[in-house]
């Protein structure tokens, strides 16, 4: 229940007694504040549910969390390579299912590229000897990635998104 200061309550009590209409406003106001508070109080895992869901999907399809949580130090490149295939194959599929990705620049990497006047600094980042005014002539080092389509699954509100993958117990 939302809190209202003592003196405010006293004043309102009088007005509620006088006007039934005002009584309605008060209840409504209280309800609004209650929802606002509930929103503010949403636990972090709810706020970031879609991020957690993405982790869960990468773990489910490509064992990404298992891979990253394991200390790779003592293993040979061959062993890491075999595990990486599982991660690569599964996560790649998931990535393609959820997102459409295209390069931010259409030029081939390593080829010369002109950065025009009024370029979009969000999509193009300048490196090296950055001075003067565009247009600039440079070389494309990385073509960047842009998501053009998102198809995230719908996830149940009743489940705890913190559970990335449950413990598995096999019964004999």
């Amino acid at each position: 229940m939302a809190q209202i200061a003592f003196w405010d309550r006293m004043k309102m009590a009088w007005r509620v007694l006088i006007s039934a209409e005002f009584a309605g406003e008060v209840t409504e106001g209280l309800e609004l504040r209650a929802t606002a508070r509930a929103k503010k109080a949403a636990p972090p895992e709810r706020v970031h549910a879609s991020g957690l869901m993405l982790l869960a999907a990468f773990q489910r399809e490509g064992r990404l969390i298992d891979f990253l949580q394991q200390d790779a130090g003592g293993y040979s490149d061959e062993e890491i390579g075999a595990a990486a295939r599982v991660v690569h194959g599964g996560c790649r599929k998931t990535l393609a299912q959820f997102f459409d990705l295209v390069p931010a620049a259409q030029t081939a990497e390593g080829a010369p590229m002109t950065v025009p006047t009024g370029f979009d600094p969000e999509r193009i980042r300048l490196t090296g000897n950055v001075s003067g005014k565009p247009p600039f002539k440079g070389t494309l080092k990385h073509h960047g990635w842009i998501v053009t389509g998102v198809r995230m699954p719908s996830i149940s509100e009743t489940l705890d998104p913190r559970v990335i993958t449950p413990a598995e117990v096999e019964l004999p």
């Binding site: 869960a56 999907a57 489910r60 891979f67 595990a83 599982v86 719908s154 149940s156 009743t158 489940l159």
Partner: protein, 588 residues
């Protein structure tokens, strides 16, 4: 005119649904929302035909919810398949194959086949009904407004007999679907081709062509022959013959590869499934890039350690050629019959999987069996071939099949077949089904053909019984080959008397080759004649005074939806009874 039509490909391992608004011409393949994990609903183009029967409390409340069902007790599709690989005793799979299994009560709750007693099993019909309901709900959800499909085209294997078709209709009824019409899958594939090719059709085929449709799905292989004829200057398509029901498909191929690679490795059931999927991907990789010599497969362990616990395997091009191409599409003679393994006295009742994986031997047997339409040749000569099914994404399998057929043809004085470039191999059946609905409204060319079998009622001759000797059963033709939808045939008067008040059972036979028999023809000793196959018996209980004999006439009708109905009409009186196909047991 119907506005919304939908086409459903109810597959052994995957289902698909397509729709069209006939007024606006809009519509396409429908994305199917399904669980990919508890509480996670994603859209996919295919719905894996799997149901996972969850135990109470196994998942949190609401974890299996779908947009149209808040608390289902089971999961369907992707998650069912993935989780079911770890809990096989609760996984319903291959329901469609069970629908055509004649030695078992197909309406009985028998799946999952190997479930422990406390699992509440479901019938193959119920499983099919659940897939259908899921598909139609997906379509409704995609429209985002409440609307009913005015017409539904549901595809079945051409090799489905009358009883399996009847059961498919029953499943549609249980799912609450109305105005359902059945269409054979190879025909649907050809309709998809016809739609894709449009007016170019007349350039691609000519009168006298015989199109062989080879449809290899996940679990079944289905053949059909369709002839191009002419009437009053118009090209016509007539389905001439269909093959037997062969439980052999793409899944068998992946399994065979997995068994080969699993040798010498210690894998549990879940890892073996992972290896099977890995084999499928490696296979597709090798088929897509002819320069690759081998493709690696990694099988993760079950625990959280991935590095060091991942088992490596490798699929080589040699394996692929030897195991898949030579194993499944062997270079065989057209008269080489499929091998049948000798069965032991006590065979466990399971699905009657094909014992010979050689698709070419099954195909050869089919073409040679249809000698009546072979025009004096050793086997029916196809002139064109249309492939369907995801298996044929591998061009090398198509090439080998064409190579084998051309070898048969050249030895028999024929000319080589040409391939008709098909539509999408995974979705052609669902798309073709929708095109068929359009055709039914009078647009484009329709494939004719009627029933692909002739049907017979078994009549026991009056003779003294001899112990240990089966009396020869005569077969009375009640529905001839090629009987068209919406027609009926009266069996000429015979001395038939039915016992009323108690169940009467007829033995029932079908033949996919005898096209000369007319209604009323009587053929001797059907049970020992290879041209006949005994199908589910038909059974009825006629109301009336128990033990009384009523003289009747028989009548067969092929309904508009494509099922066969048998009726008894009382000779002196107005009694009419429908004979039900008994799908419970073959010998019941």
């Amino acid at each position: 005119m119907a506005r919304h039509v939908i086409g459903i490909d109810l597959g052994t391992t995957n289902c698909a649904i397509s729709w069209r608004d006939l007024e606006e011409g809009s519509g396409d393949v429908v994305s199917i929302p399904q669980l990919t994990a508890p509480g996670t609903v994603e859209e996919r183009r295919l719905l894996p035909s799997f149901i996972y029967l969850a135990q109470e409390g196994e998942f949190p409340p609401g974890a299996l919810a779908l947009p149209w069902d808040k608390r289902p007790a089971y999961a369907t599709g992707e998650f069912a398949r993935a989780h079911g690989a770890k809990v096989v005793t609760r996984l319903v799979a291959s329901a469609k194959s069970w629908l055509s299994h004649t030695n078992i009560d197909r309406t009985g709750a028998l799946l999952p086949w190997q479930a422990p007693p406390e699992v509440e099993r479901i019938s193959p019909v119920e499983a099919s009904a659940r897939y259908l309901k899921h598909l139609v709900e997906s379509w409704k959800a995609s429209l985002q407004k409440d609307s009913d499909a005015e017409e539904i085209i549901l595809t079945v294997p051409a090799s489905f007999d009358a009883a399996a078709r009847e059961l498919t209709m029953q499943a549609a009824g249980q799912a609450g679907l109305q105005n359902v019409t059945l269409l054979e899958e190879p025909q649907a594939a050809l309709y998809a081709w016809l739609e894709k090719i449009g007016d170019g059709f007349r350039k691609q085929v000519k009168v006298g062509d015989v199109i062989l449709v080879v449809d290899v799905g996940g679990g079944t292989t289905d053949f059909s022959l369709i002839a191009v004829t002419e009437q009053n200057g118009d090209l016509q398509l007539t389905r001439m013959a269909v093959g037997d029901h062969i439980l052999l498909g793409g899944d068998n191929m992946d399994l065979t590869l997995a068994h080969h690679l699993a040798q010498g490795k210690n894998l549990d059931a879940w890892q073996f499934t992972a290896l099977t999927y890995g084999c499928r991907e490696a296979k597709e990789l090798l088929f897509a890039d002819p320069k690759l010599k081998k493709a690696p497969i990694s099988i993760p362990g079950r625990g959280s350690a991935l590095i060091g616990a991942t088992i490596k395997a490798e699929l080589t091009r040699d394996d692929l050629g030897r195991i898949l191409v030579d194993g499944f599409i062997p270079k065989a003679g057209v008269t080489e019959l499929p091998r049948t393994a000798r069965r032991t006295g006590l065979t466990q009742v399971g699905l009657p999987y094909a014992q010979d994986p050689g698709i070419t031997r099954h195909l050869g047997a089919f073409l040679a069996r249809q000698s009546r339409i072979a025009e004096g040749k050793a086997f029916v000569h196809p002139t064109a071939i249309l492939f369907n099914g995801g298996v044929f994404k591998a061009a090398i399998l198509k090439q080998r099949l064409v190579e084998v057929i051309n070898d048969w043809l050249s030895r028999d004085g024929g000319s080589p077949v040409r391939e008709l470039e098909g539509a999408d191999l995974d979705l052609a059946v669902a798309r073709g089904a929708v095109h068929y609905a359009w055709v039914r409204h009078g647009h484009g060319i329709r494939i004719r053909g009627g029933t692909a079998r002739a049907y017979y009622v078994g009549v026991e001759p009056a003779m003294p019984s001899v112990p240990g000797f089966d009396p020869p059963i005569k077969a009375l033709c009640v529905a001839p080959f090629g009987m068209e939808e919406g027609t009926k045939a009266d069996v000429p008067p015979q001395e038939f008397a039915l016992v009323v008040g108690e169940p009467t059972v007829f033995r029932f036979f079908a033949s996919s080759v005898r096209r000369e028999d007319r209604v009323g023809d009587m053929i001797d000793d059907a049970a020992r004649n290879e041209e006949f196959e005994e199908v589910a018996p038909i059974e009825t209980t006629l109301s009336g005074e128990s033990g009384k004999l009523v003289p009747v006439n028989l009548q067969a009708a092929v309904t508009e939806v494509g099922t066969l109905e048998l009726r008894c009409l009382e000779k002196e009186g107005g009694g009419r009874w429908k004979l039900e196909m008994n799908v419970r047991t073959k010998d019941g």
